[in-house]
Amino acid sequence: MQPTTIAWITLCAPILAAALILLVTRTNKPLAAGLAILSALIACAGGWFLFSQGVTGDFLGFNWISIGDSFQVPIGIALDPLSRTMLVIVTTIAPLVFIYSIGYMKDEEGYWRYFAGLALFLFSMLGIVLANNLVMMFIFWELVGVSSYILIGHYFRKDSAADAAKQAFLVNRIGDFGFMLGILLFWVSTGTFSFSALNSSAGLFVEHPTMLGVACVLIFCGTVGKSAQFPLHVWLPNSMEGPTPVSSLLHAATMVAAGVYLLARIFPILSASPEACDVVAWTGAITALGAGILATQQDDIKGILAYSTISQLGYMVTGAGLAVSAALPMFHLFTHAFFKCLLFLTAGSVILGMHHEQNIWKMGGLMKKMPITFLTYCCGMLALSGCPFFSGHYSKDLIMACSWEHHRGIFWVVVIAAALTPFYMTRQAMVVFFGKARTEHSEHAHESPLVMIIPLILLAIPAVCAGYAPVEHFFFHEIGSLAEPEVPTFVPTIFMAAFLAGLGLAFLIYRKAEKDPIRIPFLENRFYIDDLYFWIVRIIQGGFARICSFVDRWFIDGILVRGSATLVWSIGFALRFLQLGNIQAYAFFFGAGVIGLIYLILNVR
């Protein structure tokens, strides 16, 4: 088989599975799950084949829109080192989560809907990864938004889930609006949508650096929405209303990484604009710090992980903004995808073992009840915290070391955020797994079924060793250099100190805590940002809606629609009285009309 064919099969297998599940297998649970998993495995095999063969090239599928010579939107697949690595990440994690879902969703309603949503999501994500131009990526970008909406709103009978799905979609739309403007701006100035042409077009902007900066920042708006950067981060914690495997796959490992992937995709052109890079780096750093602070005061086991995801995405965005190499954010994306997926799946295992209890203060002492979950959780938690010899340590320290070299202000921000990471993760670990059982449920917690345990173990392996030098070289040497920057010797010591400080502090505070000893309402309420947005929506959008409703009801409806109808009706009502039902009267009107016409013709000119 041609590599082209394999690439197209990889892309299209999940959408076929989604269609089949929706059309055929609505009542057959094993078949629905089987189809979805089969498509994910096909995509996985295809992804690894393309990666191992090092297939490179731009394969045109067909021209979707073609207006003249200047406006060409092809649908095509671009395979280069970047998309190959991303392809492997997505297609490796997806089947594991699909399999895990069999166990987690066993007793839930809407089983087929869930698996169809997962397959649709996988298709859209692969589309983003393989797209060879901005418009195609934008289409799949929106498809990811749709499938995310479907999956977050899986329990749509619950108001909070329906609201969260709506919010995720709408907040993403705000970012996507900027993304679309950025695409158009790039098209206006370069006349192309394709990544390869765009990335070599930096020369066109020598005269107009502002134009380039604005276009890059507009594209970055898409990242801000999809990767939940400040100030559009509010949707991600709320999206935890979805089933836990969804949180794991979409809102930790792959979908939110699409924003970072986008930055890596346009990296050559992005790095040509220092101003845009500064905006990107600072947004990432602020997000990393802010989300880290918020994570320390969450009580929901998934809420903590959600904020830590935002924080880690902040690191990746910072890495892209440092303009060192496209491999820098991708490396952290790579390691993060594994350990964050693992953490969410262990959280799901805990939630299932606790009979759908998510408040960490109602857990405790789960270490003995759920040993495998605990061990795999530790792998993920240490990797996230940046413990030496775990994957997160390598990628995060690399970003921080690069920021030391390029931007001292950002460096200190991300170091503080790096100290917060072990703090809130240790807090979670201490409260959930150590100590005594706090409630009835945690007394009787049980280990999860095998179908959920195996993906945990399989994910724990890369969570530990994805950061080692051979792995890093294998996946990233073609994308760009990941050489350790020259930093003073005390810089790694700072990282180590930050890690140990966070870990030790949390250990001391939460070792014997029965309920949270630190209560900061400002942080518990998420900086009041959600309330602020709610207020803005209510005042501005609500007011605008009221004006629109007034205009609609009184002007459009009242005057234009009903007014014209009333006018016609009343004229008809008046003329009705001419219908006398007397034939002579009609003849008289007719004669009078003829005489009137003759008069008009003869005497009026």
Partner: protein
């Protein structure tokens, strides 16, 4: 020798009689007859104009030919009209126009 004016006056009287019949009588048959009288009044004035109106000293017969056509069409119209009246009578058992006022508001 009667002049053109005599013919036109006769035609006008005929037309007025027909119009009066149409406007004043209540029986639909009489109204129909009034219509035919008006039609023939118009025919009479056409013939008169044709007879007295010379073009370059010659008489033109166009109008007289037109009258033949009108008579033919009128015959056909009478056939249709009478048929309608007959079926109306069958449906309503009346030929008085005042009784036929279904379309009145």
């Amino acid at each position: 020798m009667p002049t053109l004016a005599n013919y036109l006056i006769a035609s006008g009287i005929l037309f007025a009689i027909g119009l009066g019949g149409v406007m004043l009588r209540r029986s639909i048959i009489i109204i129909f007859m009034g219509l035919e009288i008006m039609l023939n009044a118009a025919n009479l004035s056409l013939i008169a104009f044709s007879r007295y109106g010379l073009v370059n000293g010659h008489q033109l017969f166009d109008a007289q030919v037109l009258v033949f056509f009108i008579i033919t069409v009128a015959a056909a119209e009478v056939a249709v009209g009478l048929a309608i009246i007959v079926s109306l009578y069958r449906a309503r058992q009346t030929t008085h126009v005042e009784d036929i006022d279904t379309l009145k508001f």
